[in-house]
C-alpha cells in the first residue's frame, strides 16, 4: 500500500548547515500490516513518519500510496502524536470529531460512531469532559480515537505511549492491538521501546542515526492475539536480542 523508495531527507539548519536526517530508506507497508520503527534518538524516525503523512517533502527518492506520489496530507492516513495534543477548549466528543469537522467530512452518523468508538476505548461517559479533566492515558486514548474515527487505511503513530507511565503503557499497547485487530488497517508505529515494538508489530524496522538508515528488518513470528505472556517466549527474546544488538552494537562501535 505505502511504498518508500530510496527516500532521503536533508534539512537546512538555522545556521545554514545541512543536516542529513534520512538516507536511502526503502520500506513497504502492506494493507493491514503492523510495522514498528525502532531506533535511538535522532535516527529520523519521526521525520520518516512525517514524510509518509505528507507533512514534509522528500529530498530524494519518493513516497507513494497505491502508486500515487504523496506530496501533501491525504485522507488515507491519520496521525497520533507523542503528546495527546487535544484541543483544550473542546470536550472529548468534539475533540474526536475535530479532524472530520475540519475536513468537512461530518456525516449524520459520525457522532454515533464517535460515541461507539469512545465506548470501545473505555471512555463511555466521558464524552462531555474537557481534556484537562482526564488522566494522561485517557487523553492519549482520545487522541487514538480521534485518529481511528477518520477510518484511515494507514495509521501513523509517533511514540504514542512515550509520555505515559510504564503500567499505563502496557495496558495501552494491548488495547491498541485490540482496536487494530477489529479494523485491520496498516500501522506505522515509531517507538523507543524494543519490547513494545516486538509485542505489537509484524515487522520491526531498526534504524541507525546520523543519517537515519534502515539497518535491519526483523520479522516477528509470534502468534496473535499477542499478550505480555509471550515476553518470555524464545521468539520474543530472539527478536528483542537481534534489535538490541543492532542499536547497542552501533553505539559501541561509535564509542570505540
Amino acid at each position: 500500500m505505502i511504498r518508500l523508495d530510496g527516500v532521503g531527507k536533508t534539512f537546512r539548519g538555522r545556521d545554514g548547515a545541512e543536516v542529513e536526517a534520512l538516507r536511502d530508506v526503502s520500506l513497504n507497508v502492506a494493507e493491514g500490516e503492523f510495522v514498528a520503527i525502532v531506533g535511538a534518538s535522532g535516527c529520523g524516525k519521526s521525520t520518516l513518519l512525517r514524510l509518509v503523512a505528507g507533512l514534509v517533502g522528500v529530498s530524494a527518492g519518493g513516497v507513494s500510496l497505491d502508486g500515487q506520489a504523496v506530496t501533501a496530507p491525504r485522507a488515507e492516513t491519520a496521525m497520533v502524536f507523542q503528546a495527546a495534543t487535544l484541543l483544550p477548549w473542546a470536550d472529548v466528543l468534539r475533540n474526536v470529531t475535530f479532524p472530520l469537522r475540519l475536513m468537512g467530512r461530518m456525516e449524520r452518523d459520525t457522532e454515533d460512531k464517535a460515541r461507539a468508538l469512545l465506548a470501545t476505548a473505555g471512555l463511555a461517559g466521558f464524552e462531555g469532559r474537557l481534556p484537562r479533566e482526564l488522566s494522561g492515558g485517557m487523553q492519549q486514548r482520545v487522541a487514538i480515537c480521534r485518529a481511528l474515527l477518520q477510518e484511515p487505511r494507514l495509521l501513523l503513530m509517533d511514540e504514542p505511549f512515550g509520555a505515559l507511565d510504564a503500567l499505563t503503557r502496557e495496558e495501552m499497547s494491548i488495547e491498541l492491538l485490540r482496536l487494530w485487530a477489529a479494523r485491520r488497517m496498516g500501522v506505522l508505529f515509531v517507538t523507543h521501546s524494543i519490547p513494545e515494538a516486538v509485542l505489537l508489530a509484524d515487522r520491526v524496522v531498526v534504524m541507525s542515526p546520523r543519517p537515519g538508515r534502515i539497518v535491519d528488518v526483523v520479522e516477528v513470528a509470534l502468534p496473535r492475539p499477542r499478550s505480555f505472556d509471550q515476553e518470555g517466549s524464545d521468539e520474543f527474546q530472539r527478536c528483542a536480542r537481534r534489535i538490541r544488538a543492532h542499536i547497542f552494537g552501533e553505539r559501541a562501535a561509535r564509542a570505540a
Binding site: P73, A78, A83, P99, L102, L130, R132
Partner: protein
Amino acid sequence: MARLKAGLPAWLAVIGMFVVWEGAVRVFGIREFLLPAPSAIFVATVGAWPNVLRHTMATLGTVMLGFAASVVISLPLAMLIASSRAISAAIYPLLVVTQSIPKVALAPILIVALGANELPRVIVTFLVAFFPLVVSSVAGLLATPPELVELGRACRAGRVQELLRIRLPFAVPFVFGGLKVAAALSVVGAVVAEFVGADAGLGYLIQTSMAFFRTPLAYGAVVILALMGILIFQAVTLIERILFPWSSGSEQSAPPSA
C-alpha cells in the same frame, strides 16, 4: 459562601486600612487639604454627588471607548503579526516606538491636532491600553503547540482555518490575560488624557478640586477611579468565565507596561 470566605481577608485588610487612616488623621490632627480622613472624603463626595456622577460618566465613556478601540484594533493586529514573520518584523518595532513615547507628552499634541473633543482622549486611552493586549494575543497565537498545528495540517486545513479554528481558540486565555491588563490601563489612559485637556471627567475633577484645595473631593475621585478599574477588570473576568469556562484558571498575561 466559599468565595465570600476567601475574600474575607482582603475585605478585612481594606477596612483595617481605612480605620487606621481615619484614626491617624484624627489623632495627629492632620489638616484636611494635606490628607483628608476617609469620612471627610465620603462626605465631600456625597455632597457633590450629581456633579461627581457626571464626571464619572464622562470618564467611563472615555475608558470604554478607548478599551473598545484597543480590542477592535489589537486582535486583528495580533493575528496579522502572528501570521507572518515579515509582517511581525515590520510592525513590532513601530509598536515598541508607540510604547516608548510617554502618552502624557502626546496628549497636548493630539488635542491641538484633533480638537478639544472626545477623540484625542480616546486615542490616548487606546495608546496606553492596547500594547499589552497585542503582545499577549500574539504570544497566545504563537504558543499553540506545534503538534496541534501539525494536526491541522494533517487534516488539510488552510492557513485561515488554522488561524481561526486552532490558533485563535488556543490564544483565548492569553487574550483575556491581555484584556485584564488593558482594562486597568484604560482607566490610567483616560485620566492622563483628562489631565491635559478636558472639561469633564474624574481627571478634570481632580485637577480643579486641587486648584481650590478641595482635597477630599479629589480623593473621592481617586477612589471612584480605583473602583472603576476593579469593576471593569471583574467584568472581563466574568465574561471569560461565562463564555470560555475552559479558559479561566489557565490564564497567562503579559507584564503590564504603562
